[in-house]
């Protein structure tokens, strides 16, 4: 368990943010932590969406998967860019 800084961009917003996540966070939790800086602030909520999903290099990540599991598979450096978008 460790704090880990990422760059999180909510697709549709104009700016990515510095977001502090935990290596034990699931990607569903990471999506929430990224979305809070955009949805309801500069982007209107989307009642038709079924939550959010996280993407790395364009590939969607399983929501229940944890960041430390991803780190075991592939190098993830501090300030790695993750996209978050509405799940349709």
């Amino acid at each position: 368990m460790a704090l880990f800084p990422i760059i999180g961009r909510f697709v549709g917003d104009f700016v990515p943010h510095l977001v502090a996540v935990d290596t034990l966070d699931t990607f569903d939790q990471i999506a929430e932590k990224v979305a809070v800086h955009s949805v309801g602030r500069r982007l209107a909520p989307n009642p038709r969406a079924k939550g959010y999903e996280v993407l790395l290099e364009g590939k969607a990540l399983e929501g229940s998967k944890r960041l430390d599991s991803l780190m075991a598979e592939t190098p993830v450096l501090p300030l790695q860019w993750f996209d978050v978008r509405w799940k349709q």
Binding site: R9, F14, L18, G40, R41, R42, L77, P78
Partner: protein, 497 residues
């Protein structure tokens, strides 16, 4: 006895070069500061400037300029004209003073380097006038700001800003540290004199002066115009330098100009783009930022490139997209992170202002209006906490500006480099290209996000950040008009007309 004509003695007076006998030339003129690289010494004999100013002429003209500026200043201060100016325009002058005064002072150091290390005596002589010009500009800014301290504590940032860690100031300081204080004479002449002073200062000192005059700020407008007359003269030393470099190393000339043009453009989007298209009262705007850029900067830069046989920068398409969008991104960003500013930004999106923005920028509504709609709804429903940030925007490791601030939300994508095991992020493929040209030049500088992660900002929250930036409650940014503009939309959430 009749005096000689200037042209009879001018060349002798300025060609103060001589053969060194007590020290090697390389020791007296280290390559790190000269920057001539493999250009033979005699090539610099062709360096010539068109202004041909003597010290006598210089003093006479400058004395007259000073008298004019002083007369208007005294009259305007007595008339207490500042009190009645529009709040949006006041933000422009505070932003200008905080971000520009110490750049003028840095330019004194650059010009003094020309005086000492430039590769020809002619250039070294001309640098002396540039040095006095820049000293004058620093003093003019300080005097203007000092006059207004009793009216507005934000003018204290004219002197203070560059001694703080305010994020925008870090971006400005980083750029000018790079091209003025750490560049050799040749690079500084092409990047600063030719690109920034001869090109971009037009937008800060001509366009902004014009808008200031329209807004009734005669004192500020007059000060800017007076400064610009000096810039137009001493910026000329870029051309003879380019003449020499083009003959011997055109590839280097192209690269220096392409890097400087992008970095200067990004900075002036921040400083002048927001001021022209959002802070200046809409009825007083004469041209949009984009129109002015196209008319005064782009045409001019294209002509220089064409005249010297150089190519347009490879990133021209990206530049054109950035010209359409970048300053809108910087504006919504600075307004949203307004507690991190030392001026009070005008949101500039009332119905009337929005109509103007849509006329000037046809894609504005889709790219930016939608984001403002959510902000407006939050203001009108009293959710002010949702109109404020809870974290930092990600920042570019070259421009120090937010990722996403070069383009719009539809074109935003990642530009990343991993260098020595560290991730570097960039606001565009252009900034990434700049980094990859000379990674060691940029890799060591920490942007605000890097400093936050390194633990330099404590406590690690917004309050800690504001304290670290030196922002006190008396100057901290807030909406210039107390959010009254949002009432325009209180009956209808969707604001677009």
């Amino acid at each position: 006895m009749a005096l000689l004509n200037r042209d009879d003695w001018y060349d002798i007076a300025r060609d103060v070069d001589w053969t060194l006998s007590y020290v090697d030339r390389d020791e007296a003129f280290p390559e790190e500061w000269v920057g001539a690289k493999d250009i033979p010494l005699e090539a610099w004999d062709e360096w010539d400037e068109p202004f041909r100013v003597s010290y006598r002429d210089y003093v006479m003209v400058q004395r007259e300029k000073e008298a004019n500026v002083s007369a208007i200043r005294e009259a305007m201060v007595r008339a207490k004209i500042y009190k009645n100016l529009d709040g949006g325009h006041k933000a422009s002058s505070q932003l200008h003073m905080g971000t520009t005064c110490m750049v003028e002072h840095m330019a004194v150091t650059m010009q003094s380097r020309f005086c000492r290390f430039a590769p020809t005596g002619r250039w070294r002589s001309l640098g002396a006038f540039g040095m006095m010009d820049e000293t004058r500009h620093t003093q003019l800014d300080m005097r203007f700001s000092h006059d207004l301290l009793n009216e507005e504590p934000r003018f204290d940032w004219c002197q203070k800003a560059f001694h703080t860690n305010e994020w925008g100031i870090i971006a400005v300081r980083n750029f000018f540290d790079d091209i003025m204080l750490n560049s050799d004479c040749v690079e500084a002449a092409l990047a600063t004199s030719l690109t920034v002073e001869h090109g971009f200062t037009n937008i800060q000192f001509v366009a902004l002066a014009s808008d200031a005059m329209e807004a009734g700020d005669i004192n500020f407008s007059n000060l800017l115009s007076s400064i610009q007359t000096d810039e137009a003269r001493h910026a000329q030393l870029g051309f003879p330098t380019l003449d020499v470099i083009i003959k011997h190393d055109p590839k280097r000339a192209q690269q220096i100009l392409d890097v400087a043009f992008w970095r200067a453009f990004r900075l002036f989007q921040t400083l002048t783009g927001t001021a022209m298209d959002y802070y200046t009262p809409v009825a007083k705007r004469r041209m949009s930022f984009k129109e002015f850029m196209l008319e005064w900067i782009v045409k001019h830069h294209e002509r220089i490139l064409r005249d010297y046989g150089l190519e347009k920068p490879w990133y021209w398409n990206t530049f054109e997209t950035a010209l359409e969008h970048g300053h809108h991104a910087l504006h919504i960003g600075t307004w949203f992170w307004r507690p991190t500013l030392f001026w009070k930004p005008n949101a500039g999106v009332s119905r009337e202002e929005r109509k103007w923005l849509n006329e000037k920028y046809p894609s504005w509504e889709e790219s930016w209006g939608v984001l403002w709609d959510q902000i407006i709804e939050n203001v009108n429903s009293g959710k002010m906490e949702k109109t404020l940030p809870e974290t930092l925007p990600a920042l570019c490791n070259v421009t120090q500006l937010p990722l996403g601030s070069a383009i719009d939300r539809f074109n935003l994508k990642q530009h990343q480099v991993i260098h020595n095991g560290r991730v570097y992020q960039f606001d565009s493929e252009v900034s990434k290209w700049i980094f990859e040209l000379e990674p060691e030049r940029y890799a060591g500088h920490l942007n605000v996000v890097d400093r936050f992660i390194a633990g330099q900002i404590q406590p690690m929250d917004l309050g800690g950040g504001l304290n670290w930036m030196g922002l006190t409650p008396d100057v901290m940014g807030d909406d210039a008009f107390g959010y009254r503009w949002a009432a325009d939309y209180s009956a209808n959430r969707v604001a677009a007309e």
